[in-house]
Amino acid sequence: MLDFNSLFGRKNKSSSVAKDRLKLVLIHDRINCSTELLEMMRADILAVISKYVDIDDDFNIEISNIQCEEGGKKSPVLSANIPIKNLKKVNN
């Protein structure tokens, strides 16, 4: 049986899997960011934004994939998707 992936793809190779997993785990290792720390940040962000807008308090923040900057230097990115319920609270 001819395996299409073994001929053309690198995605299923275990070395690629190892590399991808390592990249992800090292992002977390390097900035020394535990899940507790992320949870504390989440709570603080929620508190700050809630002063101005009604938001869904169920949002997640995560450290995601490496982003290429202009100089080609790589760095981790902190991202949060925060659904806004309504903007009526905004004053001024």
Binding site: R10, S14, S15, A18, L22
Partner: protein, 265 residues
């Protein structure tokens, strides 16, 4: 100008002691005065790998605690001109020595030798802190496995925060046939992930097991792949530019093309 080099890895069993023995031996073969220091107190092994286990009288802790003079504890390797071993204590633990004492020891050895090679214990605790205390530069040993690479990354960070920025990478136990079929990370992958300079790639060579069995460093044999790889590392430690052994090319179409047309490394 003499150098104190620590061989470290974080993870155990990746080949720190083998690397220390072989890089040290290869440097001696280049005509340098070298002392190998076994900093793994309590788990001494560099002596058996070097085949010098029967000649130990005093050890590193005896020197530090003043029970003997440094010269009495140094074992001269009769096979190689200018190679010495300072063995670790076997019946003490890592806390028997402090980083300050190790730094002082390294500075004393520095006056007598061109290279002081420190075989660091696994882990990041006291033994690691002792071993790196007096070092100018570090060779970080890893294998192309996720656990070893992750630990290497941690060690590189710790070395940097302890003021050792002159750090190079040795990738050990590369299995060419596995790299070729995509089941082992290639040297480029590991270098990309760790983002430090590579100083050597050592193949997974049965000769290492044989030479360790006999207590004869593989670097003696220039005609084995591993022996050649360690000799090349010694040359690069000296600052020479030596091309890497052809171990990992041919993994993809471009690599094969390069190889066919003679551009491979």
């Amino acid at each position: 100008m003499s150098q104190v080099i620590v061989i470290t890895s974080g993870k155990g069993g990746v080949g720190k002691t083998t690397t220390s023995a072989n890089v040290g031996t290869a440097l001696t073969l280049l005509g340098r005065q070298v002392v190998l220091v076994d900093a793994d107190i309590g788990l001494r092994n560099l002596d058996v790998v070097m085949g010098l286990e029967n000649r130990i009288v005093y050890d590193l802790v005896d020197v530090v605690e003043g029970r003997c003079r440094l010269k009495q504890a140094l074992i001269k390797d009769k096979r190689f001109e200018g190679l010495f071993l300072l063995p670790a204590a076997q019946t003490r633990d890592k806390n028997a020595v402090s980083p300050e004492q190790m730094k002082k020891l390294c500075d004393t050895l520095r006056e007598e030798f061109d290279y002081v090679i420190l075989d660091c214990p696994a882990g990041i605790e006291q033994g690691f802190k002792n071993a790196i205390a007096g070092a100018d530069r570090a060779l970080v040993v890893t294998t192309p496995e996720v656990s070893a690479v992750r630990d290497a990354d941690r060690i590189i960070g710790l070395l940097e925060s302890n003021g050792i920025s002159n750090t190079q990478l040795i990738i050990n136990r590369v299995r060419m046939n596995m790299v070729k079929r995509g089941d082992m990370m290639a040297m480029d992958d590991v270098v990309e992930i760790l983002a430090i300079d590579l100083i050597g790639v050592v193949p997974d060579d049965e000769n290492i097991v044989v030479s360790t069995n006999r207590g004869e460093p593989a670097a003696i044999e220039a005609n084995t792949l591993a022996g050649k790889a360690f000799r090349n590392i010694a040359d690069r430690v000296e600052g020479k530019e030596i091309p890497f052994l052809d171990l990992t090319t041919g993994n993809n179409f471009v690599g094969k093309l390069k190889k066919v047309f003679g551009f491979g490394n």
